[in-house]
């Protein structure tokens, strides 16, 4: 279970979010500029206070405190059992696909590491890419590898920031279906940020609606995204 109460400023943008996410697959839905990426980065522990920026609040995952600024707690990324996959795969360009996926497995026995890499690449259907370099991959292949890399260390929380944008619809659906089964089986809570309402409807997830930095509703997609459903239906029916 993910509990968060965050208050952050990024220049003129103000994010204020407080909620408890209990579903194993939650969609944060919001249009561009709503604060989805900012929220995910704060959850991942990537953004701390800097000039012109402030972030305060508390984040707990399954009872463990990840962030509690009032008590001066801010766990480093990598110590939060949290992975983030963004729209840009950000694969390490000087490393092979295999080395990219193995990057977060430092310290493990070589055989265990190799097995884990193989398992993750199989999960995202990228086994044949193992020795390729990131620059030799298509956008969709790179996103699959980024997903395998993020899952390899065995996170408890997976944050997805529109990571399926480079995959075509069928491939994306198949990957999401396979991922959902694997994530549920491995007890990984997932938060997917998207501006595409079909992602929210198709995954049947709990939806948190983010608007201009505020969380305005949390619940089933059919309820929270009623307006969006009508807008999509209107668009489909309009010649």
């Amino acid at each position: 279970m993910l509990e968060l109460a965050l208050n952050a400023r990024r220049g003129s943008f103000h994010l204020e979010v407080e909620c408890r996410l209990t579903s194993d697959w939650t969609v944060i839905f919001g249009h561009s500029g709503a604060g989805k990426s900012t929220l995910l980065r704060l959850l991942a522990g990537l953004d701390r206070n800097a000039r012109g920026e402030t972030a305060q609040g508390r984040v707990t995952l399954d009872g463990s405190i990840l962030t509690d600024t009032a008590r001066g707690v801010w766990s480093r990324p990598g110590r939060r059992r949290t992975s983030l996959v963004a729209q840009q795969p950000s694969l390490f360009p000087h490393l092979s696909v295999e080395a990219n996926v193995a990057y977060g497995l430092a310290g493990l026995d070589r055989v265990i590491r190799a097995n884990r890499v193989a398992e993750m690449l199989e999960l995202v259907d990228a086994t044949d890419l193992v020795s390729r370099r990131p620059q030799d991959l298509s956008g969709g292949q790179a996103q699959r590898v980024a997903m395998a890399r993020a899952l390899a260390p065995g996170p408890s929380l997976l944050l997805l920031d529109e990571p399926f944008s480079a995959l075509d619809g069928t491939a994306s659906d198949a990957l999401v279906d396979r991922l959902q089964v694997w994530l549920r089986a491995n007890g990984v809570q997932t938060v997917l940020a998207t501006h595409d309402a079909t992602d929210a409807f198709s995954t049947g997830a709990e939806v948190a609606l983010l608007r201009e930095g505020r969380l305005v509703a949390v619940g089933p997609a059919a309820e929270v995204l009623l307006d969006e459903r009508e807008r999509i239906a209107h668009r489909l029916m309009t010649p």
Partner: protein, 222 residues
Amino acid sequence: MDWQALALTLRLATATTAILLAIAVPLAALLVLGRGRWLAAVEALAALPLVLPPTVLGFFLLVLLGPRTAIGRGITGLLGHPLAFSFSGLVVGSVIYSLPFAVQPLVAGFAAVESSLVDAARLLGASSSRVVFSLLVPLARRSLVAAAVLSFLHTVGEFGVVLMLGGDIPGATRTLSIVLYNQVENFDYAAANRTAAILLGLSVVALAAIYLTGQIRGGRRA
């Protein structure tokens, strides 16, 4: 040809470059990855030798490392000899004098690495040193070569700091630049030409190495 001076110069430049890279890589990484206003002061301090006249820097070091200061006396007690007018003293002076020539290319190279890659590494549990050595250094290889070559060349051509801090002791502090100065002072232009040609040759070869590295890497971003 003063082979002893050439060997000493190359030894000085090699030692200085090795020490500088060991200092400059973590320092540049700190300046790029770190946060806090105090970093601006560190950056300014690291760039100070760029604007400080070499003779002034040499004079300060001469005083600092001499027997009149506690630091100088401490070092003399530790090493058994004063740093001033010794090869070790020249290395210390050269490291300080050439520091910006090692730090600045590395800062530029590290800053050019996409921050999303650094974020990805951190999310995967990489420590700061792993981020530097598994990510920044390999992706900024060309900047590392540039930093090494510039540090080496700057040390080879150093004059003011060397003369102030080391004087002109054959085999200990007499570098090629000092030899060239002596040859000109003695109106021995033929020998001065040869010495200058060697210094020029070293510069051309080293600079060619930088550009060749860039070409081999297919002009990829440092």
